[in-house]
């Protein structure tokens, strides 16, 4: 096997490649992210950023208590985030558990939302603790039910104990299951990887194994999509593009709750990976509460006064 002519998938070739990646200096990376957070986005650029952010939201519900009704409501909101303002774009995707995929797909199709894909979390989300057979079946089920995007988790235990080959194989196998039918997002759970060096290594591991997107977190572990983590991942996709000519997407998820946070993420993308990534094709934000704040900020820009949560729908 050959992956981009860079590794052959063996444990040793992965170790060799990952060990020669430059380190990440924690203080320097955090300082850079903090500096970019001071960017002041006003007026026309803010308006553009809000609409762009809305189009990038993977509107998510991943609760044990999810019901078909809640998922349908979420889909309605995904297609038309504000029923009173049809100039607002649809979100990037609806992200649900495996068993909710067909409900979501059916409802989206029924309400004129064919253009909104359904993303399914997969591979024994969120812990990743299951046999390979179960993970494959989990993925296959979701795709058969209509998922166009698969958000898989990696085996963090294997990664942290240095079994890169194991992690790599899992991603490769899930990639095969996805085939041409589904986009593959690989979730690292960066809060469990702890160091930025690990985030960089995991990014390359996933990209080499065939990920279309690399994603920070499940939303179940904090810290999640902190700006420096996203910075390091954006550097990875930027450099991977130079290396392979293939553009990989990035999806921060978890902890991005308001417009200010979302705009900080867009600034990070703009000044790190570049404007080519500023599209839902290559950047998504996994969130639930964020969408309403984006809508309220948009209303404020239109109306000139601050909005109230009473004027946006709760789901």
């Amino acid at each position: 096997m050959n992956f981009y002519g860079i590794v052959d998938g063996s444990e040793s070739s992965l170790k060799n490649f990952l060990s020669q990646l430059p380190g990440v200096d924690q203080v320097g990376a955090e300082a850079r992210a903090a500096m970019l957070a001071t960017r002041s986005i006003k007026t026309t650029s803010k308006r553009w950023a809000i609409d762009t952010a809305i189009s990038m939201v993977d509107l998510t519900t991943l609760e044990g208590a999810d019901t078909p009704g809640k998922v349908r409501a979420l889909c309605t909101k995904a297609v038309r985030p504000d029923p009173t303002d049809l100039t607002i774009p649809s979100v990037g995707a609806v992200c649900v558990y495996n068993d909710m995929v067909s409900i979501a797909r059916t409802h989206l199709d029924a309400i004129g939302g064919k253009h909104v894909p359904v993303a399914a979390v997969s591979t024994a989300f969120p812990s990743g603790r299951a046999s390979m057979e179960v993970k494959i079946q989990d993925t296959q089920d979701a795709i058969d039910a209509g998922a166009a995007e698969i958000d898989m988790v990696i085996d963090r235990g294997a990664f942290l104990s240095g079994k890169f080959g194991l992690v790599f194989d899992e991603i490769v196998k899930i990639r095969e299951v996805c085939g041409e039918r589904a986009h593959l997002k690989v979730i690292f759970e960066t809060g469990e990887l702890v160091t930025y060096d690990n985030v960089r290594k995991a990014s390359y591991l996933a990209m080499l194994a065939g990920a279309d997107f690399i994603k920070t977190s499940t939303g179940k572990v904090a810290p999640a999509a902190t700006p420096p983590v996203v910075l390091v991942m954006l550097e990875a996709v930027r450099d991977f593009y130079v290396l392979t000519n293939r553009r990989i997407g990035v999806k921060p998820a978890g902890g991005i709750r308001n417009t200010k946070d979302a705009i900080k993420q867009l600034v990070l993308v703009n000044e790190t990976a570049g404007p080519e990534w500023l599209t839902p094709e290559f950047f998504r934000i996994g969130a639930s509460a964020l969408l309403n704040d984006l809508l309220m900020q948009r209303m404020k820009m239109d109306d000139g006064y601050y909005a109230s949560p009473n004027y946006v729908t709760i789901d």
């Binding site: 430059p22 320097g28 990376a29 006003k42 650029s45």
Partner: protein, 477 residues
């Protein structure tokens, strides 16, 4: 559509600039003469008229400082002196935004830097030194060390208020009184600081500010009533001061020029290194004596670093210093712009290869795009002379020893940088480098607790920390 940031200008309504200023002597603003314009270098707008202090103005200021020293300041306990400094620190924090905007207007540096770096550090310097005032027995200068008397202080235009703080805070904490001259092109924040002295009810004459040019500075250096000189500026003027005081008992600290080497080993954390290189040379438009103006790259990664640096430089936002998103502001003066142009032209003439990202530079004001020169050798003027602008000379090396030799091959010795992920290599390099401040895996960081100053022709003495106090004290017996 690209993500174009709309203008986000900081409001200048917070500052009020008088049409004309005199000096601040003996606690009062007094009229001056021979006014000259101070301008906003980003627009060439005349901001105000500044008085060119004469020898007689300096004399009045020194007399006021002497009187304050003998009558009030030397009679105060350290504890009470410290409380004045704490007051000043607090007022500076309260009025921080006003100082930041005024500094940006007068100097041309971006509001992001004045707001996030200059002014917070100014307050921190006063806060730090306030605490020393009643603890001088622990400064390593013996029991009950004594101040010199009147300190004459001459500061540069690159960090106007920060350099004022570096000078005035330790002088007052140790019990000296002060006659300070701000730089010709950047007097406004020093004059606003005089108002802070009044608000803090600092006794009259403890701080005196006389504006002017080199002749005013010379009058301070040569005044018989001055006991200690503190100067930050060029090595050329530093040497003149050293000669001028050779026959006197005046003490001097000199913070002078530099040509800092920033050494990158092939195991460096590359992305943070690129940030450090940018911060090293483009911070404050490169108007930094300790700038990392010589980038010395290990051959194996020279190309990669240079490419990444170019990509990163393309993201540098050059323009209106008051815009909160501006990274690189205006060159401080036409004179400085001419000097940068002249040395850059020498780089071209000597065969180095110039590159800069395309920037829309305003016709009004003084601007210079962030620029790198590759193919530079030790023999090039741009590798030896201080450019004091946003211009980086890039050299390469093969062996660690060669990197150190190139880094040390200069009469300067102010700063250096080392980038590597290997701890023992960093410590080895920091030990070999002949420079007073060494940043390893970072660059251009400052703190009041951290001594700053140069080896060789980069100056005499240190500022900041325990070491910085020593130059304002006579050893106690």
């Amino acid at each position: 559509m690209d993500f174009e940031y709309a203008p986000a200008p900081e409001s200048r309504s917070i500052v009020s600039i008088k049409p004309k200023y005199g000096h601040f002597i003996d606690g009062k603003f007094v009229n001056g003469r021979n006014h000259f314009a101070t301008i906003n270098p980003a627009t060439e707008e005349v901001l105000s008229q500044i008085s060119l202090g004469s020898a007689s103005d300096v004399d009045k200021a020194v007399i006021a400082a002497q009187k304050a020293y003998t009558k009030t300041w030397s009679k105060l306990s350290g504890k009470e002196r410290g409380k004045y400094l704490y007051r000043i620190a607090r007022i500076l924090q309260e009025r921080a935004r006003e100082f930041a905007v005024l500094e940006t207007l007068d100097n041309g540096k971006p509001i992001r830097e004045t707001r996030d770096i200059d002014i917070p550090l100014v307050a921190a310097h006063f806060f730090y030194h306030a605490g020393w005032a009643d603890k001088l027995d622990y400064a390593g200068m013996g029991k009950s060390p004594k101040p010199h008397g009147v300190a004459g202080q001459i500061i540069p235009w690159n960090f106007p208020l920060l350099m004022l703080a570096w000078k005035i805070a330790p002088a007052l904490a140790t019990g000296n009184t002060v006659v300070l001259k701000p730089a010709e092109t950047t007097s406004l924040t020093a004059l606003l600081f005089a108002e802070v002295c009044q608000q803090a009810e600092l006794p009259d004459g403890v701080v005196n500010i006389v504006t002017g040019d080199g002749s005013t500075g010379s009058a301070i250096v040569n005044h018989a009533g001055i006991h200690k000189i503190a100067f930050t500026g060029s090595t050329e003027v530093g040497k003149k001061i050293a000669r001028a005081i050779a026959g006197t008992n005046k003490k001097a600290t000199l913070e002078l020029g530099g040509k800092g080497a920033n050494i990158v080993f092939d195991d460096a954390p590359i992305d943070e290194t690129v940030e450090g290189i940018v911060n090293g040379i483009f911070f404050n438009q490169g108007h930094v004596c300790c700038a990392g103006s010589r980038l010395i790259l290990q051959e194996g990664i020279a190309e990669e670093i240079t490419e990444k640096l170019k990509a990163r430089m393309s993201k540098i936002r050059v323009g209106d210093p008051l815009d909160k998103n501006t990274d690189l502001g205006a060159i401080n003066s036409r004179e400085q712009l001419n000097k940068i142009n002249e040395l850059s032209a020498a780089g071209d003439a000597e065969g180095a290869e110039r590159w800069n990202p395309s920037c829309n530079l305003s016709d009004k004001g003084y601007w210079f795009a962030p620029t790198i020169f590759t193919g530079v050798t030790q023999a090039h003027r741009i590798a030896r002379e201080e450019i004091f602008g946003p211009v980086l000379s890039i050299l390469t090396f093969r062996t660690p020893q060669e990197a150190i030799e190139k880094a040390n091959n200069t009469p300067f010795g102010l700063s250096a940088g080392v980038w590597s992920e290997k701890g023992s290599r960093i410590l080895w390099a920091t030990q070999q480098l002949r420079a007073g401040v060494i940043w390893a895996n970072t660059f251009n960081k400052f703190d009041p607790t951290s001594p700053f100053g140069g080896y060789k022709e980069s100056g005499w003495g240190r500022e900041g920390g325990k070491h910085g106090l020593a130059s304002y004290l006579k050893e106690g017996k």
